[in-house]
């Protein structure tokens, strides 16, 4: 819950009042929204360098002036971790950037990450007062990234305040956004946190999923280092449920377990030809490149570098995959999506970037089968043409087949990015969890506690495929609830 009193106290601080008086709201409204400096499309479509370059100090301060410092900051209600948005933005406006970064870290374990990958236009920025007055929202995401980057580059990264260590051991399964966010909060509360990761790198989907041109691995590593400085321990190559069982964790003295093992299981469409060579999941494709470095000369993991590549799906993962295909040398990189662009779940900025880079969007098409050559490699896809019908359960217009309207298109690689299901390892190995039909772990909605009292779960293992920020929000919620449970059980004993 947002602490309205705390927000009010902060807003009434003399420097904030002074700052508000410096410009009239009308003047603030008149400032145009900042444009993010970015690499030129022709260059970047062949480079793994980060596309967005970040704001300059002048740009950030100017953008911060656009924020009206509303008494009731609706933007915060749009943020799943309830970042104190006006306070951090006003700190930027008065040029106290390190203070702004500190504010971000009060509620977010990964501000440099969120500033880059959150769908701000659907969250904080969608609630900005500017929109009600027919103006573009404040670029909250750009400012968040700016403050986090500024702090990192300044070399004086602040370590959040921590309670005195209580020596109670807590285990986290998975080092993605939910696990990291949970670990950060528990470390602040004084717990002795160990994060177990199945892969050989810390970061989960932030490392294997999101490409470096959108989220450089170095940025993720800095955030992880900060958690290390807070005393969080990381163990790679350790699969909770396999390497260490639920019982093993108890024997090792862990008093609480947070399961954040993600939605690792890729969905396929189960259409003919889907198991041909050259048809692969976006998870496989992106993991080979992002985690295993298949695009590097010194890496041993291979990747198929198709010339005519189709990506099936319209989410961020699909866009990440298609832009990766371009960077791996595709001459024709296509998005095949069964609805129209309006319904695409991907961030608007990513769709825009993909278009600028030359991606072909084939909207209102759905693959129905793949055709292979004599060696079992995909050579063509047969697409069904669709049209939009009545809205479905998701509120989006339902795609309906146009009878008889099919097209056959030459491809030499197909990447299926139609979503993921929860990783089945822990649901299968931990006896006593309640598992939904979709394979997610069922939790109490307020506490995120599972049917096993010492086990909490959050992120995609509980949601079944959502966003980085929602996973982080779950981590925070679970940390608060687990702390309460452990405190209560300690009090009972006394």
């Amino acid at each position: 819950m947002i602490d309205k009193e705390y927000i009010k106290v902060q807003r009434n601080e003399p420097w904030r009042e002074e700052l508000r008086k410096q410009l009239k709201n009308k003047e603030r409204m008149a400032i145009p929204r900042v444009k993010m400096p970015e690499l030129e499309a022709g260059y970047r479509s062949h480079s793994y360098e980060e596309v967005n370059l970040g704001l300059s100090l002048e740009q950030a301060v100017q953008e911060a002036k656009r924020c009206l410092d509303c008494p009731d900051p609706t933007c915060m209600t749009g943020c799943p971790v309830e970042i104190n948005i006006p306070t951090f933005i006003k700190n930027i406006e008065r040029n106290e950037i390190l203070e702004a970064a500190k504010t971000l870290k009060e509620t977010s374990a990964l501000p440099a990450v969120c500033g880059r990958v959150c769908p701000q236009e659907k969250q904080c920025e969608s609630q900005c007062l500017h929109l009600k007055m027919k103006s573009e929202s404040v670029a909250i995401g750009y400012l968040e990234r700016f403050a986090a980057d500024y702090e990192r580059e300044s070399g004086s990264i602040s370590v959040p305040k921590q309670a005195v260590s209580n020596g109670i051991k807590i285990a986290v399964a998975g080092s993605g956004p939910a696990g990291l966010s949970f670990a950060g909060d528990m470390a602040k509360y004084g717990y002795d946190v160990t994060v177990f990761e199945a892969l050989h790198e810390i970061g989960g989907v932030l490392k294997y999923g999101i490409p470096e041109f959108r989220l450089p691995n170095d940025i993720v590593d800095v955030e992880i280092d900060l958690l290390r400085q807070m005393g969080v321990q990381f163990v790679v190559n350790c699969i909770v449920g396999k390497t260490l069982s639920y019982e093993d964790l108890h024997t090792e003295g862990f008093r609480g377990i947070f399961v954040a093992s993600g939605a690792g299981l890729p969905n396929f469409m189960n259409i003919p030809g889907e198991n041909l060579s050259g048809v692969l999941s976006s998870n496989e494709y992106l993991t080979r490149v992002n985690l295993m470095g298949a695009n590097r000369k010194d890496a041993y993991t291979p990747v198929i570098t198709g010339k005519k590549v189709a990506i099936i799906g319209g989410g961020n993962t699909a866009i990440d995959s298609v832009r990766t295909a371009l960077r791996l040398g595709a001459e024709k990189a296509m998005i095949v999506y069964r609805r129209s662009e309006e319904e695409m779940p991907a961030r608007i900025e990513e769709i825009q970037h993909a278009k600028e880079e030359g991606v072909i969007f084939m909207n209102l098409y759905n693959p129905i089968r793949y055709i292979g050559d004599e060696r079992g490699r995909v050579k063509q896809m047969v697409l069904q043409k669709m049209e939009l019908g009545e809205p479905d359960a998701s509120g989006r217009k339902r795609p309906v087949e146009i009878p008889g309207a099919t097209e056959t298109i030459d491809v030499d690689e197909v990447i299926v990015a139609i979503g993921v299901s929860p990783n089945p390892l822990i649901p299968h190995e931990f006896q006593g969890l309640h598992i939904s039909k979709k394979g997610t772990i069922v939790v109490h909605p307020d506490s995120l506690q599972t049917d096993l009292p010492d086990v909490f779960a959050g992120g995609d293992i509980m949601r079944g495929g959502a966003t980085v920020i929602l996973a982080m929000g779950d981590g925070r919620k679970a940390a608060a609830a687990m702390r309460e449970m452990l405190t209560q059980s300690a009090e009972k004993k006394e």
């Binding site: 199945a198 079992g376 990783n423």
Partner: protein, 260 residues
């Protein structure tokens, strides 16, 4: 980082490594595998655990040098470290008393067969192992397999050791002479395909342990998918063992060549 405590050369291309991995040694069962990686940008390679020593905290892996990555692993020596070892992965072999179990393995498939033969023997089964290879010097782990087998039939393509012929000839001998309740087969995909065709003819339940391409080994990538009984399954989490008579080996053989 996992230390190699012992290395043995089994044949020209095959080495046996004993590797420190106490948690895996403790948790593993017959049929489980690990993924190993050498170097920061090495490839992740799935390998079945051949045996484990809980008290020493080690697992034994048998590796055949077939590509660049496996050559790199085979070149490591005692005292060297493997950058990453993770496991145990996959579902353990279903072990119970069946009666007579034929273990049909080819080449380096003898290594993953070893813990299965051991567990089958301990469950009271009569275990007959058919151990096949191209030529005598590629026959590995014969002594170890004999410990857990009532009989070992050796087959070589060139007749340089045991009988001349393919693994299927050895399996058929057993089937024709005595009641066989289960066949387990591990080896090259094409070998497993023909063992499966043979046992299907005789209606003998058969389990094949599949060795597909994998990246993460935890269900994440789907590189390992195979068609079993008309449905797509993931070898890493649904397997590695499946009803051989239901496996689409032709598709699997083509998929193994995806990165060639």
């Amino acid at each position: 980082m996992n230390k190699i405590v012992r290395k043995e050369i089994l044949s020209k291309q095959v080495v046996k490594l004993e590797v420190e991995a106490p948690l895996i040694a403790h948790a593993r069962k017959a049929g489980h595998f690990v993924i190993i990686k050498v170097g920061k940008y090495g490839e992740r390679i799935p390998l079945t655990i051949a045996s484990a020593d809980c008290s020493a905290g080690t697992i034994t892996l048998v590796i055949q040098a077939v590509g660049v990555s496996t050559q790199k692993i085979c070149a490591l020596n005692e005292g060297d470290y493997i950058t990453d070892v993770v496991g145990p992965l996959g579902k353990a072999t279903h072990i119970e008393y069946f009666g007579t179990v034929v273990c049909a393995c080819g080449g380096v498939g003898a290594a993953p067969m070893l813990p299965i033969a051991e567990a089958m023997k301990k469950a009271g089964n009569r275990v007959i192992t058919v151990l096949a290879a191209r030529t005598k010097e590629l026959i590995i782990l014969e002594k170890e397999l004999r410990q857990f087998s009532d009989e070992v039939i050796i087959m070589t393509d060139d007749g340089s050791y045991g009988q001349r012929g393919l693994v299927t000839a050895g399996v058929e001998q057993v089937i024709q002479r005595e009641k066989t309740d289960l066949c387990v087969t591990i080896g090259p995909a094409v070998m497993m395909k023909f063992v499966s065709l043979l046992t299907k003819k005789y209606q003998i339940p058969t389990v094949a342990s599949l060795n597909t391409i994998m990246v993460d080994g935890t269900g994440m990538c789907g590189a390992c998918r195979v068609t079993v009984g008309g449905k797509t399954r993931f070898v890493c989490i649904d397997g590695p063992e499946f009803d051989a008579h239901q496996v689409d080996f032709d598709e699997m053989i083509l998929r193994l060549k995806a990165y060639e």
